[in-house]
Symmetry: C2
Subunit: 196 residues, 2 copies
Amino acid sequence: MTEAHPVRPGPRRTLSEQAILDAALALLAELGAERVTIRGIAARVGIAPNAVYTYFPDKAAVLRGLAEQLLGRVHDNQEGDSSSPWRDRVHALARDLRNELLAHPGSVYLLLGSSLDGRNAQAIGAALLTILTDAGLDRDAAADAAHLLNVYILGSVALETTDPATAAGQFQWGLDRLLDGLAAHAGTRRNHHGSA
Amino acid sequence: MTEAHPVRPGPRRTLSEQAILDAALALLAELGAERVTIRGIAARVGIAPNAVYTYFPDKAAVLRGLAEQLLGRVHDNQEGDSSSPWRDRVHALARDLRNELLAHPGSVYLLLGSSLDGRNAQAIGAALLTILTDAGLDRDAAADAAHLLNVYILGSVALETTDPATAAGQFQWGLDRLLDGLAAHAGTRRNHHGSA
DNA sequence: ACAGTTATTGTACATCGTCCAGATTTGCGG
DNA sequence: CCGCAAATCTGGACGATGTACAATAACTGT
């Protein structure tokens, strides 16, 4: 699994990309999203600000990596419960993702900003997709339903971040209404993207 | 309806708050969200950058006003169709809001960032609420359902902005699943926020 | 006419992302 | 073993940002 390192000349790196991402995550957790700055990261790991550009081409790339790292944690928590009913599995995944996002204020905007095409993002998407096909949705419907759930979870946390009045109960209620709609669709199982 | 103006001393204002917001909206439409800058607005209306602080206390306030202005347009388009079935009414409102947000790239993040407590925001929320009570939901359920729809619409456009692969058909499909879930709940009509 | 209040400007500061030029360190081919 | 090319890091700088401060000009009520 360790990469086949194209042994380059030049001095050895004093850090790893992971160290950069760890520092960025720490800043995100401690000081909020707008304090996640190249200069702050550099100061925290003890290098000059521009040395960060040895590891990432620009700040957007750092933020993409950070988003990926957050999704990675969710995906790790989410392993061996393929026997429970599908609604419970969706609930578990939604809960984990929501908790991870709420634990790091501002991280939602990272995910909303960097299109979800990273490895961990696709892994979570795939997990969601198998759950939904298990629920009785065909391939197209499962893809749309996965998108729908993504939208709901991310949007929900985004609004909850700026307006703390909304609570966990509201999240669960909406999720259940949503799953009701999906279950009904899995039951009827007719023309997709078609009916009036 | 014109405000009772508490005639203050000092020179007349060369502009109005509306002029500032119009300039901000123009910048948003033409150059994107990250180019909506105090200095840019000031240059466009022909005043010094810091003169903007006569009209708004800081940039965040300008962005809040901008978000409100966008919602105002939606609310204006949305007037006299209280006879159609409730699903059609929700569809119409969702379509208008989505179109307005897609017309101004980056405006979604404005709404997600500035908690939706402005006058126009509350007006739209109230409109949604009456539609949903017409649909047969009790007051608490209607409030949660309105929040659910807000989350879906905003989240959907946010993801669509960064990932243009998602299309209008997907939006409609998800919205219909969601409305199915709400309709089912309006039918059963039992303990709210309670069942396992 | 005077005094108080306000709008606007010029200037300045801190902070940001990022580029550029050098110095230094490493691996590889001769 | 020795230079050459490549890669890392630093110091310094540039432009852009939001915004504070002081001064000036315009206006209102006394």
